[in-house]
């Protein structure tokens, strides 16, 4: 067992394993810290900054991102100090100006009492993507195909398929769709095909030979079959009929 440390979060003492991140420890104890770009399945990234907390170390207070800050002995953490709340509200204000019609952002803004963005309405945009990179990170770190990535720099940065053409390496698994925190990825199964519009793909769905349900893209099943060295026809039958 690895080394244990004791830290304080909002005045209460907790024990955690050294090397865990503040956000993990807080969530394990039911302490709510908002976050959009964090997912247990992938490495923390620190893009949305909503999970900021205020820590005290050697009598100095500073703001850190809890998804990336490893806990240590004697660490004092405040998850909702006035400084944290002030910054978090501004971050949501900025996100609201970018994603003025997005439901997830709207809901978070409501939780923090933000009625409307402080910035000039004429500059608002209706984006859904907050460029947290979860789609690309999941595709790389979980699926292992790196079919998409973040492209460009600064205000033009965003996820994209190579050269904005159909993402050839994509297996159509839809992990990006499920990982996206703000519903920015449009995926649809219809008439025997899976479409992920963001990456311009259209893949044929496999039909279960027993119940006839179209249950996953053929390309995805073929990828898994080869990866695990499974016999041909292994995925002819859907999990329900197996």
């Amino acid at each position: 067992m690895s080394e244990l440390v004791t830290l304080s979060i909002n005045g209460n003492k907790y024990t955690a394993e050294k090397g865990q991140y503040i956000l993990q420890v807080a969530r394990a104890h039911g302490i709510k810290i908002p976050s959009l770009c964090n997912l247990d399945a992938v490495e923390p990234y620190g893009a949305c900054r909503l999970c900021i907390v205020e820590i005290t170390r050697e009598n100095r207070k500073r703001i850190v991102t809890s998804c990336l800050f490893p806990v240590e002995e004697g660490l004092i953490v405040e998850t909702d100090s006035p400084r944290v709340i002030g910054n978090r509200k501004m971050l949501l204000d900025l996100l609201l100006a970018r994603c003025s019609e997005n439901k997830v952002i709207r809901q978070l803004a409501d939780e923090y009492g933000i009625e409307k963005s402080s910035f000039e309405k004429e500059y608002w945009t209706k984006e859904n993507c907050i460029v947290c990179g979860l789609c690309a990170r999941v595709c790389e770190q979980v699926v292992g195909v790196s079919a998409i990535s973040l492209v460009n720099r600064g205000i033009t940065k965003g996820p994209a398929s190579p050269y904005l053409e159909s993402a050839k390496a994509c297996i159509g698994c839809g992990s990006c769709f499920y990982a996206c925190p703000t519903g920015a990825i449009k995926m649809e199964d219809k008439e025997g095909y899976r479409y992920i519009y963001n990456w311009r793909i259209k893949y044929k769905l496999q039909k279960c030979t027993i119940c006839g349900i179209e249950w996953a893209p053929e390309k995805q099943l073929e990828y898994i079959r080869k990866k695990w060295n499974l016999p041909k026809g292994f995925f002819d039958v859907c999990p329900n009929c197996r």
Binding site: Y45, G46, A47, C48, R49, L50, I52, I63, V64, T65, L68, F69, P70, R83, G86, N87, M90, L91, L94, L95, A97, R98, S118, F119, E120, Y123, I130, V131, G133, L150, N152, R153, G154, I155, T156, K157
Partner: protein
């Protein structure tokens, strides 16, 4: 070139031999062929010298040296003639035969080519007497004048690589770290972290493989101190790096140079090759048993790659994006291995500290800010160039004594230190000492040593907007506050400068600014609001004038100004009529003042610039 040097004795013997060569009666001409002098025409001057020396058969009588940057870029092309330390400025190829005939052969000074004091018009002969140089302390840059950067023998002749020999044979690695710690040297890239402590952490970090890195991705607009060093004295950086590698226990180094510095790339690559041939780089350096080699990597033009973690990502072949530094790079840096990254200037200080000792270094500067700092002095000062001053010098000394004051007798308004995310400081702060802590305290920073001087014709709101547009483009876009915050702040400033500003904009700008400082992922975002917050703090009245009175006192913001002709001053010379690209000005008859059509005027300022009589008025 001699073969591999196998011991410090062989290096010392080579040094003695080369140093002896310097003790000649020969006259010496050294011409600056640095990056700033080249567009002024230093290449043709160099060629003219070579041709004339050849033609006149003077090869035995004069030693001609083509060097890197001398610093006084404003006056290029520059040559120094020894003996006499005679400083010639703005030289043209046709002046060259005269310099050789009169000054080199007959020790006569050509007064036409001397520097003239702008106010008293007094001629100054010796370089050391020029106000620009007199008030500096050029421990690092000073050698640029003495050496041909493409020739390692020049560097060895003035004692080059003796610090390396001393470090390898007289000290244990930990002793070197102690010396650097005692010297108080702080990172010159802007962070100001104590170099010795950084080295020590890297040495103590777990892992067999460690890396040392030179950060030469100097991307601040107007800053070129690293370029001047790497181009003019590449061996000093390389020597410092090898010493650091030995102290830290690293066998592989990287030099990350921005690709926009072709000359620096060429000179450092050449320096590495020469050092390898002499056994100063590679396996078994000087017979010490210590192996170390280095690679040059070229940056691809992203400003953010000057940030240490982004630079390392870029070295790894990934997208140049910073990461959180909660685990320091000295523990987990390049390829997750302990890595020590220092700025070009930091590395160049190392040989001096090893050779002269920590006590010598500590005598320069102030107790908490030791040594010198190189600044790229640019903007509206008379003497632009690279200046090296002891830490703790007052801003006023740099701008008025070294810089020679403001151009065209205009009034000083602000000085911006530390690159695009530095702060703008007003006149009341000119007596402030220039060091890491003092600059940070007033909302600016040292950065990598940019120093841009502004006069009454600069609009501070417009300046803030300019830097934000730069940072908006150069932000990597990874984190929300930087990507979204800079954009929104720039939009607000756009509104203010175009006359659509509101009073509520000011507190909003402050709020976004503070959010960036607190919550951005890296220092680009964290320092990005500095130009806005400092101009709002020190020049608030200009913001209020823009918002309430729709007025730009500097006459810069196009939407808030109009151009008109002061009739009694206009003699109908026609200069503005010819120059106006919008054909908005027409002549209406002899000796009658010209007429400016407001509807056609595009407010480009051309008429204002060309009118020598001040008849164009900006309101």
């Amino acid at each position: 070139m001699p073969g591999k040097l196998k011991s410090p004795k062989e290096l010392e013997a080579l040094h003695k031999k080369l140093a002896k060569g310097l003790e000649t009666d020969k006259a010496r001409v050294s011409v600056c062929n640095g990056t700033a002098c080249r567009p002024y025409g230093s290449n043709p001057v160099v060629e003219a010298f070579k041709a004339a020396i050849d033609k006149k058969g003077l090869a035995d009588k004069v030693e001609f040296k083509v060097t890197g940057c001398h610093g006084f870029c404003e006056r290029g092309p520059i040559a120094i003639v020894e003996p006499g330390n005679i400083f010639y400025q703005k030289i043209k190829p046709e002046d060259v035969p005269e310099i050789l005939d009169k000054t080199v052969l007959n020790k006569q000074v050509i007064s036409r080519l001397l520097f003239k004091e702008p106010i008293t018009k007094a001629e100054i002969t010796a370089q050391a007497d020029l106000p620009f140089y007199k008030n500096q302390r050029r421990i690092i840059l000073g050698n640029n004048v003495r050496i041909d950067p493409t020739n390692i023998e020049d560097y060895i002749s003035i004692g080059g690589y003796s610090a390396l020999a001393k470090a390898l044979f007289d000290y244990q690695p930990t002793q070197i770290i102690d010396i650097v710690k005692q010297s108080g040297l702080r990172g010159r890239g802007g962070g100001g972290f104590t170099t010795g402590v950084k080295w020590e952490s890297c040495r103590n970090a777990h892992g067999d493989i460690k890396y040392v890195i030179v950060n030469a991705d100097e991307g601040d607009p107007g800053a070129y101190a690293n370029e001047g060093l790497l181009t003019g004295n590449p061996h000093s950086v390389l020597e410092g790096l090898i010493i650091g590698a030995f102290a830290i226990g690293s066998h592989q180094g990287y030099i990350y140079v921005r690709n926009e510095y072709p000359l620096a790339l060429k000179n450092i690559t050449n320096a590495m090759e020469q050092a390898r041939k002499l056994g100063l780089l590679g396996k078994n350096i000087l017979g010490s048993g210590f192996d170390f080699d280095v690679r040059v990597n070229r940056g691809g033009g992203a400003f953010i790659c000057g940030e240490s973690t982004a630079l390392m990502a870029s070295l790894e072949g990934k997208v140049g994006e910073p990461r959180a530094k909660y685990t320091h790079t000295v523990e987990k840096g390049l390829w997750d291995r302990p890595s020590d990254l220092n700025n070009v200037e930091t590395w160049a200080n190392i040989p001096l500290i090893i050779n002269n000792g920590a006590d010598w270094f500590k005598k320069i500067g102030t107790p908490t800010n030791t040594g010198t700092k190189i600044f790229s002095l640019t903007g509206k000062v008379n003497n632009t160039g690279l200046v090296e001053v002891p830490m703790g010098i007052q801003l006023r000394d740099i701008i008025f004594n070294i810089g020679g004051g403001i151009r065209e007798g205009k009034k000083f308004k602000a000085v911006q230190t530390g690159g695009p995310s530095g702060g703008c400081l007003p006149e009341s702060m000119l007596d402030m000492p220039v060091d890491f802590d003092a600059l940070t305290k007033v909302g600016s920073m040292m950065g990598s040593g940019g120093m841009i001087v502004m006069d009454e014709n600069n609009c501070m709101v417009d300046i803030a907007k300019y830097y934000l547009s730069f940072l908006e483009e150069e932000s990597c876009g990874k984190c929300v506050p930087c990507r979204e915050g800079i954009k929104r702040m720039r939009q607000i400033l756009n509104d203010i400068t175009s006359g659509a500003g509101k009073e509520s904009d000011l507190p909003l700008l402050e709020e976004v600014g503070h959010c960036l400082r607190d919550s951005a992922l890296c220092q680009l975002g964290g320092s990005a609001p500095n130009p806005v917050l400092t101009t709002m703090q020190y020049f608030r009245e200009e913001y209020i004038e823009h918002i309430k009175l729709k007025k730009c006192r500097a006459g810069v913001c196009k939407d808030l100004i109009t151009f008109s002709i002061t009739e009694e001053k206009c003699p109908d010379c026609g200069m503005c009529v010819k120059a106006c690209p919008a054909e908005a000005i027409t002549a209406v008859g002899k000796r009658k003042p010209v007429v400016l059509d407001q509807a056609k005027c595009i407010k480009c300022r051309t008429c204002y610039e060309v009118c020598k009589l001040g008849a164009v008025k900006i309101e």
